[in-house]
Subunit: 366 residues, 2 copies
């Protein structure tokens, strides 16, 4: 158990030049890959560089080629399998093109997102893909700053108001409308919505509800609009008591679904917009001594292998995670190449994977 | 839909100097944070830098301070909630100390891990935490290369043979032994092991099995050793037919568990060493028309909210994911600080979370 010594610092271009017996400029040109160096000098420099373990740094290369072959990705929560799937799609596509992908996770904090963007600007990535937490007009300065630094930005998963950027998203509103419509077609009129807006006071009217939702992420607001669309289409009045409010955690979902299930006219179905909203709803249903789909039908967002092995297996909306990542990477790489493009919004298809968590109200499995 | 223009390049120190009406050296000293600059010049430089949107780059800062305040993390699969939890622990701890965390995912490929390490060396991170895919002696050159470049390395989740580095791990062998022992105490003697070594030919003997396991990741080999330990302690002979072999995928787990369940003397319990091994086992059990825990008891590795909402809920080994990340980050930050330390191996505690997926063989839930 000897004391650890501090490792020595990496060799510099000057040290390589000295070891090769050439001038620093020749060594720099050889190692940076720019300008003319005679084959004989070049060979001596490369031999010395290998001997010393010299490694060109990214900035030095980027000053000669303008490209570091690195993409930056900023996501809200790397622990969410949805974002993990998107990141996998990004890195598979970028690797095919010789680009590495570095990821920063912001835990849905705008401050951390701003810090992450600064890191990526510092590290001189060639472009950034971001699932942004920005909502208000004042939230987008770090995105415009990146572009002003010559770093193209593509949005994934979430559009950002007040900013006209390329975006690769799904149609959250239509996916939610379709899911809730399938519950209505099964006979449900009392349909809970988990999770809803992050607000302390329960919105009493539809107008207040939409105003509260507009202060949340675009995806959350769109899913709520799709829920209301489906109710409207069927002529079912909106009931504020059936929409969860408050922090978006599994614990809060348990409390809110428990509250709904204790209503005199309780929901016979619940639409869950996130994985933790679904697991929270399942816990609340079981704690109330109820079962799905006999007592409460369920549809959730973001399919997973767990949803398929539940008994009964859960009906879920599947997002094309990998394709979202692939498309975002391809869009960004085209911008980096300087290809003439128009700003684009790619809207990819979702799939409602029907399993066995939907049944008629109070009836047999359907 | 106008054609997009290529963004302009970022302002240089010389441009800031010109705008401020000062010499380039004064601008460089001000913006690099080194050397003396009069307060009056300093203020003019900072005003011009803000006006132009100048951003010091990390390398320029690192040349003056030697520190870029960035940690690199290389994990096998960012889509695995286990690694996501570890990364969260790392970033929470590093952020408290003013360090940003950038993550690269290697999809269990050693080639990608080597490329990832090169990216982190290029980007001049201050240190690296890695869950390495290295197994053989020839696999560790990129780890030693980082250290030779002055970048300290801490291993997380997985030890690497042939290399004496700080490591933060759990005792996989003891965790597996404890889980299998609890199945034995419930009365089981026919216990399947999913997943086992990645080998085409089924090992016929214990010696062949251990040799095959030694070519796999340390975590996988240790969990197999723990399984054998528990059998040994109880005097239960090892049966090659009860150990899965082949690629580590959910599909392969389904096939292998289906094969085991078709044996004349089928297993009455299965120990699953990964999440996908568990979901695959659940599918095979259901496809065989069997139920847990009545027909087959189950224990899995890596607890999750899904495991808790399964019906019956699953007995799982919980790893201290966040604490693994915290400890790895604290260890790395101490190395970066140059604190005198001895090489350390931190072994953190796991918890066997007993729920309802274990019952006596062929008996009632226990």
């Amino acid at each position: 158990m000897a004391e650890r010594e501090r490792p020595s610092s990496p060799p510099t271009i000057s040290e390589v030049a000295a070891a090769a017996g050439v001038g620093r400029a020749s060594a720099a040109r050889t190692l940076g890959g720019y300008g003319y160096v005679s084959p004989e000098l070049r060979e001596r420099v490369l031999a010395a560089a290998e001997e010393l373990g010299y490694r060109a740094n990214a900035l030095a290369r980027s000053m000669s080629t303008g490209i570091t072959h690195t993409l930056g990705v900023i996501v809200a929560d790397i622990g969410n399998p949805f974002f993990a799937g998107v990141v996998r799609g990004i890195s598979d596509t970028s690797r095919e093109r010789g680009f590495d992908t570095i990821v920063l996770s912001t835990h849905e904090s705008l401050d951390e997102e701003i810090a992450a963007m600064n890191v990526l600007i510092d590290k001189r990535v060639d472009g950034v893909i971001v699932a942004s937490a920005a909502v208000e007009r004042a939230d987008v300065a770090h995105l415009t700053a990146a572009i002003e630094h010559g770093i193209p930005v593509v949005l994934v998963d979430r559009e950002v108001s007040h900013l006209d950027l390329d975006a690769v998203v799904i149609d959250n509103r239509e996916a939610a409308r379709e899911a809730v419509d399938s519950l209505i077609r099964a006979g449900h009129t009392r349909i809970g919505f988990v999770w809803g807006p992050t607000t302390d006071t329960r919105p009493a009217t539809r107008r207040e509800l939409l105003a509260a939702a507009a202060k949340n992420l675009w995806t959350d607001a769109e899913r709520l609009r799709g829920y209301l669309d489906a109710l409207d289409d069927a002529g079912i009045p909106f009931d504020p008591d059936l929409v969860m409010v408050g922090v978006k955690t599994e614990e809060r979902a348990i409390d809110e679904v428990a509250r709904m299930l204790a209503l005199p006219d309780r929901p016979t179905a619940v639409f869950c917009t996130e994985t933790d909203a679904m697991t929270g709803s399942l816990r609340a249903i079981r704690a109330a001594g109820l079962a799905y789909p006999g007592d409460v039908s369920l549809i959730g967002f973001d399919d997973s292998s767990w949803a398929a092995v539940m008994d009964p297996p859960l009906t879920m909306i599947a997002q094309p995670m990998h394709e979202l990542g692939e498309t975002a990477a391809a869009t960004l790489l085209a911008l980096i190449d300087g290809e003439p493009t128009t700003r684009s919004r790619h809207t990819l298809e979702t799939t409602l994977v029907s399993r066995a968590s939907v049944a008629p109200p109070g009836g047999a499995r359907r």
